[in-house]
Structure formats: structure tokens, C-alpha cells
């Protein structure tokens, strides 16, 4: 790998399931499902042995058990996963300060500046894999490429326990034969629309003029064209110390209907909650940001007694803040809104010990079930596949890309 960047995508193999197999040798070589056992339980991770029977994460446990009746179902042990995850991230941090966690078991590492110390990117990838294996007993698949998109794609090409390198001069050779669904952001819906244009492989897209794609898909088309050429200049963000998570949206026309603003806010709370859970964090504070046509901006915050990652709790707090403003109160009374945003801050990691509530036990369990289910569906089918009734968003994949769509 010569000039340009060297990015690694490190992806732990069937992380939760592998940890369970590691800690309980009796599970080794057997199909293992980590997830809820109840009637509405969802699979959080399936071991490779279980995947051979068609079991996948995000499947209802009952379905997975029908596919593989002899699978062992294990309840997730969050603190143990976090402990091993911390160790893995510690190893990554030894090779570069630029580590971007995607979730507990997945990260980008920018090793462009590390080669003078540790040798070429491929050697770093080998060392990382060896150290993870030696220090945790787990395996990771690593992709090495000039950017994040290609690195992630590479790590996925040879799983589990694989190492795949996409050299800058072999990008087209690797990409062209792959199906369009491998492109970041192409879900089942986009795949269908592309197929209608006869575009089935990444090579098909690369062979299509940018203008055609832009005319058909707008900004998303430009994004597709770039990815199909293997271009992606997103930097590796080290948001490990993320202090807050927020979503905001600017409207083309100021929204004059409080209910319309409320539904956007609900959608944002869902996104914020999902990202919190994905990063395994809890939040103590919720903030709502409102901007008006004259660019005056106000924010309102409230804190929880107990840190939470429940979408419903975030939404209840955000709605109360919004309604408090909209219905008068301090400096309040509704007026047309140009921008609305929901955010959480004072993030903490769930340590060993979540305080249970006296009056909320049932409600908390229900909330957690709803969140698990929507997260699983979102992970599988993409954002917007499932939302709370009442949240409003543009349909289709476009919403993910357009700036402030």
C-alpha cells in the first residue's frame, strides 16, 4: 500500500456468541444463540455453528430455534462483553490513536501514520489479529483498504477469522463483481430500484454515468457512484469520548404545526436511543434544541434520576421539554420552527448494576423488549423500516443521505 490512507476495519466474529463459547467450553463447536429466551426474545448473536442452520441475529429466538432446535440459548451478559470489548479496544489503541468504535465489537482504525513504528498496514492487521487471539481467546476479521467503506467491505469478505486486503490498484477488480447490496446504504428497497435499471453489480453502477444516477436518485445517486468507484473520504472519528449524541433537522419551510414538529422529535429520539444502545451507553440528560426563522435558538434540558437508554424515557423527557416551551412557560408559546433537535448527554457506561425501579419494573421490561426488537429490525432492514407510530420521516433510503432531508 503506497501513498494515501491505510484504514483497518476490525470486526469481532460472532462476538457475544464467541464470548459464551470461550467462557463455557461445553458450548464450543455447538450452535449457540445469545438472546432473550422469553416468548418475544430476539437473537442478539448466533454462533457460526448456528448460522449454518440459517440462524441470524435479529431473528426472534423462537424462529431461530425452529431452524436449529438443538441450539443452546444463552442470556446476554453485557458486562462481560464490555470487559472483553475494552480489552480489544485497548489493543487497537496500542497501534493508533485514531480508533473509531462502531459498536462494542467493531471499529475502524486509521494506521496511516503508524507504519514507521509498526510496519505496513497488513503487518499491523496481522499483529492485531494475533494479539486479540492471544489476549482474549477470540477471533477477529480485519479488512485493510485505503478508506472506511472498502475496509468494512473487505473485513466482511472472509469471515470468520479472516484478513482481506484491498490494494488501491485492485479496487475495481474486487468491487465490480459484487452485488449492489454490498454498497453502504443500499437496502432491499434501493436494491430493487437499481435492479429495475438493470444495475445488479457494483461494476454495473460504475459503468453508469454519474448524471444518470443523480437524475434518478439525487444526492444518493452521487453517493452510489462514488462508492462504486471505491471512493470514500470520511475520516476516522475517534468519538470514543463521545460526550453527547444528538440528531437535528432543519426544515425547508418553517413548521407551523406543533404536532408535525413533535413527530420529527419522536423520530430523533428513536435515533438517539438506538445509537445510545448501539454504543452501550446510558444517558442522564436530555436536551431539546429549537431554532426559529430568525435563527434565534433555544435549548431546554432535563435530567433523569437514573441514567437510561430507553427510547421511551428519552421521548417522554423530550416531549415534556417541548410541550413546556410550546404551551407557554418560560420564554415560551409555540411559534414556527426552523430546526428541531433532540440530544442526550452525561453519558455513562452501564457498570455492573442497573438500579431497578419500584414502580417501573414492568414498564422497564416492556420498554427494553420494544427497543431490542426495533433495534434488531433496524439493524436488518435499515432506518425507517420500523418506527413508533407518530414519528414522521420521509420514506426510502434517501433520508439517510440528503443533508437535512
Amino acid at each position: 500500500m503506497n501513498a494515501g490512507r491505510a484504514i483497518l476495519h476490525v470486526d469481532m466474529d460472532a462476538f457475544f456468541a464467541s464470548v459464551e463459547q470461550l467462557d463455557d467450553p461445553e458450548l464450543k463447536g455447538r450452535p449457540v444463540l445469545v438472546g432473550g429466551t422469553g416468548r418475544r426474545g430476539v437473537v442478539a448473536a448466533a454462533s457460526y455453528e448456528a448460522r449454518e442452520f440459517g440462524c441470524r441475529s435479529a431473528q426472534p429466538t423462537a424462529v431461530a430455534l425452529r431452524l436449529c432446535p438443538h441450539a443452546v440459548v444463552v442470556k446476554p451478559r453485557g458486562s462481560r462483553y464490555r470487559e472483553l470489548s475494552d480489552r480489544v479496544f485497548g489493543i487497537l489503541g496500542d497501534f493508533s490513536p485514531l480508533v473509531q468504535p462502531i459498536s462494542v465489537d467493531e471499529a475502524f482504525v486509521d494506521v496511516t501514520g503508524s507504519s514507521s513504528l509498526f510496519g505496513p498496514a497488513v503487518e499491523i492487521a496481522k499483529s492485531i489479529r494475533a494479539r486479540i487471539k492471544a489476549e482474549t481467546g477470540l477471533t477477529a476479521s480485519v479488512g485493510v483498504a485505503p478508506n472506511k467503506f472498502l475496509a468494512k467491505l473487505a473485513s466482511d469478505l472472509d469471515k470468520p477469522d479472516g484478513l482481506t486486503v484491498i490494494e488501491p490498484d485492485k479496487v475495481h477488480e474486487k468491487l465490480d463483481p459484487l452485488p449492489v447490496s454490498r454498497l453502504w446504504g443500499v437496502g432491499p428497497a434501493a436494491e430493487k430500484s437499481l435492479a429495475r435499471l438493470g444495475l445488479r453489480t457494483i461494476g454495473d453502477i460504475r459503468g453508469t454515468p454519474d448524471e444518470t444516477l443523480v437524475a434518478r436518485f439525487g444526492e444518493f445517486g452521487r453517493h452510489l457512484a462514488r462508492l462504486a468507484r471505491g471512493e470514500d473520504d470520511r475520516p476516522v472519528h475517534t468519538d470514543r469520548e463521545a460526550k453527547s449524541i444528538s440528531h437535528e433537522q432543519t426544515f425547508g419551510v418553517d413548521l407551523e404545526d406543533p404536532d408535525a414538529v413533535r413527530s420529527v422529535l419522536l423520530g430523533q429520539c428513536e435515533d438517539v436511543g438506538r445509537r445510545l444502545r448501539k454504543h452501550g451507553r446510558l444517558a442522564r440528560t436530555v436536551t431539546v434544541k429549537i431554532r426559529f426563522g430568525d435563527f434565534q435558538t433555544i435549548t431546554r434540558s432535563d435530567s433523569f434520576g437514573e441514567a437510561t437508554d430507553a427510547t421511551e424515557a428519552i421521548w417522554e423527557a423530550a416531549r415534556a421539554l417541548f410541550d413546556g416551551w410550546a404551551q407557554g412557560g418560560s420564554g415560551g408559546g409555540f411559534r414556527p420552527v426552523r430546526l428541531i433537535g433532540a440530544g442526550v448527554s452525561h453519558l455513562t457506561e452501564p457498570g455492573a448494576g442497573r438500579q431497578m425501579g419500584l414502580f417501573e419494573a414492568e414498564r422497564d421490561e416492556k420498554r427494553a423488549r420494544v427497543d431490542d426488537l426495533t433495534d434488531a429490525i433496524t439493524a436488518k432492514h435499515g432506518k425507517g423500516a420500523i418506527r413508533r407510530a407518530g414519528s414522521w420521516r420521509e420514506k426510502g433510503g434517501k433520508g439517510m443521505w440528503g443533508p437535512g432531508s
Binding site: 434520576g305 457498570g351 448494576g353
Partner: protein, 382 residues
């Protein structure tokens, strides 16, 4: 108005009323204390009044010589600072005319600008306040005990329930105080001398903190009156006008269904020495932090032992062994926020405590006698 005051008694009274003076208010009159001097034959009396619009307090001091009856409205913080600073003076003279008040010691003369006394809101007396109220009388010592054993469990943050106060429930001769922050709950009972109509209300925490400070002699009688939106406490009500009067708005909203969460019937009953348990929990709590708050309690019934352990990743861990006085039921491992246990042990006077448990995800119950119940939800240790 002109009055000669015993400085110590005046300072005590000002310190008490200052607690309910409004700090930030669009009405500067509410940042003042109203002083009223009355003369009844030879006996003089100085009344101090303050309110922050939520709570109002009236205090009476007899340790004064009233030369000229009248009233004054004086900024509370300055008045307090002056009376406190005049530490070498046994007495101070307060004289006021319209909105100007003079405070004189042997070598000092302060002039404080306030407001005409007529601009202060009327604070009615107990009889006016309690008219048409459901009332009962209780010993001051019993009242402060009910507060001490419940208030600590009240919520400090907002919640969808009205729990940033204490539920006061009177039913016949039974009186019950209940407080919860949604994670633990404290309930304390007492019995009244007289029967009376049932009444339930939620009293703001601040009013109860202030109330406790007003208690001086535990045997003093306190009359308690409750209306739809207000509670009134009258100290020594028989004694013509009363020594002190505290009135507070009530917390609006509904208290959670607390009776449903007090567990009935437990499988495991553990007997402790209160101080041994408190010490063990405090020590185990040293190896907890904001993220790893739980202390793990492992009860083994066979050898009647309890092992407490705690752990903070990257910091370290602790283990404390405790001998149990008694234990019925099987082994159990359960996690608790250590502060929630020590809080309760602090208000239990009985040196022997009974802890009742059911399962790692079910509440624990601490009892002391028949009048104190404490329910605490565990921490999920995974």
C-alpha cells in the same frame, strides 16, 4: 415601632424565618422579614413573618420590650447579617418608621431601607388557616420522628409521580408518612390520641425540613390542619396565637401505588446486628462508583454467613464477611445500592434488624418494630 430585643433570641428567630424567605422573586417585598411589635399590658411580643409564596412562617418572640407597637418590613439577609455580627451586644434596639429601619447597638447604628409593612402579604393565623380543615394534634417529638424516618427517601428529581415530598395519611387514629424516590420507599407509622376524618396529602420536602427546624421541645403540642391545597402546622396552638406557625402549599399530582409494592410474605428472613451491617455495607461501598454502584450480598443459610463484595473495573474490589444473627430460607445472591441500605439503617433505632428477601430481582424489606417499613429495589448485577 420601637422594640428592645434579646439579640440571641432574635438571631435564632431570624435564622429560622430566613429559611423561607424568597431568594429570587419579582416581588422584592418577599425577600424581607416582617416584624410586628405588640404590647399586651406589660408583656411585649415581637412577631416575625416570612414567605416565599409556597411556604409561610410566623414566629413569636416574647424576649422583647416593646416601647412603641408597630410593624416594619426589613430585607432578611441584611437584617440577619447585622444581628449576627453584633456579637458583643446582649440587646439590640430596632426602631422603624415607614420603610426605614434603625438597628442600634452600644456603638453602632444601622439604617436599613425596606418597604412599608403594609406591602407584605397577609399571613393568616392558625385558626383562620385551619378553618374547615381536617385537623389533629400530635407531639412535636413524634412529628419530627416521622419526618426523619421518611423524608430521606423522597425524590430529589422530577418524576411522573408526585414524589418530591412526603405522603401524609391520616385514617382515624392512624397516621402514616410515606416517601419514595421510585427505587426505595420508607414508611413510618404513629398513632394519634383522637379519632378523626381521613385525610391524605403530599407535603413538599422543603416544608418538612423547615418544620423539623422549628421543633424545640419534643413534648410541645403541634396542631396539623389540611385543606385541598395547603397544610398548616401550629406549635403550641393553645397558647393564644401559638409560638410558631408554618403553612405550605401541597404537592399536586398523584403518589404512586405504594401499597402494592410493599412485599407481603418473604421466603428468606435474615437477622442482623444493625451496626455490624451498616459498617460492612459502608466498607463494601468504598469499591463502588457512579458506574458500578451495586454491592453484591451473598447469603448462605448453612453457616449463617453473609459475604459482601464490590468491584470497580480498573480500580479494584472489596470483600467483607459478616456473621448473621439468624437466617431462615435458602441461599441468595442479590445486589443493592449501598447508600440505600445505610440510609435506612441510620433511622432504625432498634439494634437488631430483620431483612426479608425473596429473589435477586425482587425488593428487599427492612423492618423495625411495627412502625417502620423500608422497601428497597435491588441492583441488577447481571
Amino acid at each position: 415601632m420601637k422594640v428592645l430585643c434579646d439579640r440571641g433570641a432574635l438571631l435564632d428567630a431570624i435564622n429560622l424565618v430566613s429559611g423561607v424567605v424568597a431568594s429570587r422573586t419579582p416581588r422584592p417585598q418577599l425577600t424581607c422579614v416582617k416584624l410586628t411589635a405588640q404590647k399586651d399590658g406589660q408583656a411585649g411580643r415581637l412577631t416575625l413573618e416570612a414567605t416565599d409564596a409556597e411556604i409561610s412562617m410566623t414566629l413569636r418572640s416574647e424576649r422583647v420590650d416593646v416601647e412603641e407597637p408597630g410593624a416594619a418590613l426589613v430585607p432578611a439577609d441584611k437584617l440577619q447579617q447585622i444581628v449576627r455580627a453584633e456579637e458583643n451586644e446582649p440587646t439590640l434596639t430596632i426602631e422603624s418608621e415607614d420603610d426605614l429601619t434603625h438597628i442600634r447597638g452600644a456603638d453602632a447604628h444601622f439604617q436599613l431601607r425596606g418597604f412599608p409593612a403594609s406591602e407584605f402579604p397577609e399571613v393568616p393565623g392558625f385558626d383562620t388557616l385551619a378553618k374547615g380543615m381536617s385537623t389533629f394534634t400530635i407531639r412535636a417529638g413524634s412529628l419530627v420522628e416521622l419526618v426523619r424516618r421518611t423524608l430521606f427517601a423522597a425524590a430529589r428529581e422530577n418524576s411522573r409521580y408526585a414524589i418530591n415530598g412526603v405522603l401524609v395519611k391520616r385514617d382515624g387514629k392512624k397516621l402514616e408518612f410515606v416517601a419514595t424516590d421510585g427505587r426505595r420507599l420508607a414508611l413510618c407509622r404513629d398513632s394519634l390520641a383522637e379519632d378523626g376524618a381521613a385525610v391524605t396529602c403530599i407535603v413538599p420536602s422543603k416544608a418538612l425540613v423547615t418544620l423539623s427546624k422549628l421543633v424545640d421541645d419534643p413534648d410541645e403540642a403541634v396542631a396539623v390542619g389540611v385543606t385541598d391545597n395547603r397544610i398548616v402546622f401550629g406549635f403550641s396552638p393553645e397558647d393564644g396565637g401559638g409560638r410558631a406557625l408554618l403553612a405550605s402549599n401541597l404537592v399536586e399530582g398523584s403518589f404512586p401505588p405504594y401499597e402494592d409494592v410493599i412485599p407481603k410474605g418473604h421466603d428468606i428472613k435474615v437477622g442482623f446486628d444493625r451496626d455490624v451491617l451498616a459498617s460492612a455495607v459502608r466498607r463494601a461501598a468504598l469499591l463502588t462508583n457512579e458506574e458500578s454502584r451495586g454491592v453484591r450480598l451473598m447469603f448462605s443459610s448453612g453457616d449463617k454467613k453473609l459475604e459482601l463484595s464490590s468491584r470497580v473495573p480498573e480500580m479494584g474490589e472489596a470483600r467483607i464477611d459478616v456473621d448473621l444473627m439468624s437466617m431462615d430460607g435458602g441461599d441468595l445472591e442479590i445486589g443493592f445500592n449501598p447508600g440505600f441500605i445505610t440510609d435506612a439503617l441510620r433511622v432504625i433505632d432498634d439494634p437488631q434488624v430483620l431483612l426479608e428477601l425473596k429473589a435477586p430481582n425482587k425488593p428487599g424489606l427492612l423492618r423495625s418494630g411495627n412502625d417502620f417499613v423500608y422497601v428497597v429495589m435491588p441492583v441488577n448485577l447481571q
